[in-house]
Symmetry: C2
Subunit: 212 residues, 2 copies
C-alpha cells in the first residue's frame, strides 16, 4: 500500500521524505491518520533497492563549500524511475483482494486521476461488493444474534451498518457517474454548495503522458 502511494506521489514531483509524508497525509487524510516514519523510510529504501526510485543527496547548490564543521545532513530527494512508473501502472492494473479493504481502496481511489476508466469501474464495483458483504454480516448479527449481545455492542453494529449503507449509496453514485459520462465528482443534491464549474473534470483520460 505504502509502495503504491509513494510511487503515485513521486510521479507528480520528486520529493524528500518529510515532504512525502506531508503530501501523503494531505492526500490520504480521509482514510488514515498519518504515515509513520518507521514505515516510510524502510519502504523508500526498499523501493530504491528494487530500482523503482533513485535517491540523491541535495547538494548545497552554488554555495562553494563549507562542508566542514557541522557536516550538514542534507535532505535526500527521491525521484521515480521509468521502471517505477511501469511498476505503478502494473500495481494499478492488478487488483488483488487487498484492493477492496478500507485502506487499499482509499489509496487506490486517491489515485483515480491516474487510473483508466475501466479499472476505476472495476475497483468501485469490487469495493461495493465487499461493503455489501460486510453489511449483510452486520444485518445477520443484528437480526439473529441480537439477544446475545449487550446494548452497547448492538449500538456499535447499528452505527457500522449505517456507515455501510451510506458507503454503498456513495459508491452507486460514483459508479453511475463513471459509467455514463466521465464526471469525477458526485453532484451534491441537498447542500447547494457553490462552485459548479467543477463539473468538467480535469482527467479526460489518465495519462497526460508528460513529455520530459
Amino acid at each position: 500500500m505504502l509502495e503504491f502511494a509513494i510511487l503515485g506521489l513521486l510521479q507528480e514531483a520528486p520529493m524528500h521524505g518529510y515532504e512525502l509524508r506531508k503530501e501523503l497525509t494531505a492526500k490520504l487524510g480521509a482514510i488514515r491518520a498519518a504515515i509513520s516514519y518507521g514505515s516510510l523510510y524502510p519502504t523508500l529504501r526498499r523501493l530504491q533497492a528494487a530500482g523503482w526510485i533513485t535517491e540523491a543527496a541535495e547538494t548545497p547548490a552554488t554555495a562553494e563549500e563549507v562542508p566542514a564543521l557541522t557536516s550538514r545532513r542534507g535532505r535526500v530527494v527521491y525521484t521515480i524511475t521509468a521502471e517505477g512508473k511501469e511498476r505503478f501502472a502494473q500495481l494499478i492494473a492488478q487488483a488483488g483482494p487487498e484492493t477492496y479493504d478500507d485502506t487499499g481502496f482509499g489509496v487506490h481511489f486517491a489515485f483515480f486521476a491516474r487510473t483508466d476508466q475501466a479499472t476505476r469501474l472495476r475497483i468501485l464495483e469490487g469495493r461495493r461488493r465487499k461493503i455489501e458483504e460486510r453489511r449483510e454480516g452486520l444485518r445477520d448479527v443484528l437480526g439473529r444474534a441480537a439477544e446475545r449481545l449487550d446494548a452497547y455492542t448492538l449500538e456499535l453494529q447499528r452505527h457500522g451498518l449505517d456507515a455501510c449503507e451510506r458507503e454503498v449509496r456513495w459508491l452507486e453514485e460514483l459508479i453511475a457517474n463513471e459509467r455514463s459520462g466521465r464526471a469525477p465528482t458526485v453532484p451534491q443534491p441537498g447542500t447547494a454548495g457553490g462552485r459548479r464549474e467543477n463539473d468538467s473534470p480535469p482527467p479526460p483520460g489518465e495519462s497526460r503522458t508528460k513529455r520530459p
Copy 2:
C-alpha cells in the same frame, strides 16, 4: 488491542481459539474485518505466559483411552485468571492515545457494558475530540488546498468529512445519553426492546450461566 478484546471476551466464558475468533468477529464486525490466527495464537501464548489466562487441553472426557493411532489433537480451552480480570480492569482505566483511534475506540466501546460510566464518558469525549480534529484537518484541505488536488481526491475528502460529521453527531447523542440518565442505548423510538431493568449495567459481570 487484541489482548484487551480477548481478556474481555474470556470473562463471559472460557473458549478455545476458533470460538474466540468467531465471537471476536461477531462483536467487532462493525469495525474490523476478522482477527487473523497469525495474531490470535501468538497473543494467546503471550497472555498465558503473563499469567492472565490459563490453557487446558480438552480431555476426551469419559472415553477411556484410544489415545493411540491418530492422536487426536484436542481443542485448547482458555480461561481467564483473577490476574487477568485485574489486568482487564487496568486496561479499561488507563486510556492512552490509542484508545481513541478507530480500532482502539471500537474495541473499548464493544466492552462498554463492563466499563463504569465515568470511564465511558471520558472515552466518548476523547473520541469526539479526536474526530473533531480530523474533521478540521479535512476542512482545511478542502478549503485551502482544494485547487492542488484532483477531483477524485477531493471527493474522497468530502466523503471522509461527511463521515466525521456524522460520527461526531452520533457521539454527541451517546454522550448526552450517558450524562443524563444512564441509558445504554440511543433511544430508538421504534424498537421497544424488553428488559428495561437493564438500566443498571452488569458491573458484577458474570451473567451467562454457562453449564457444560
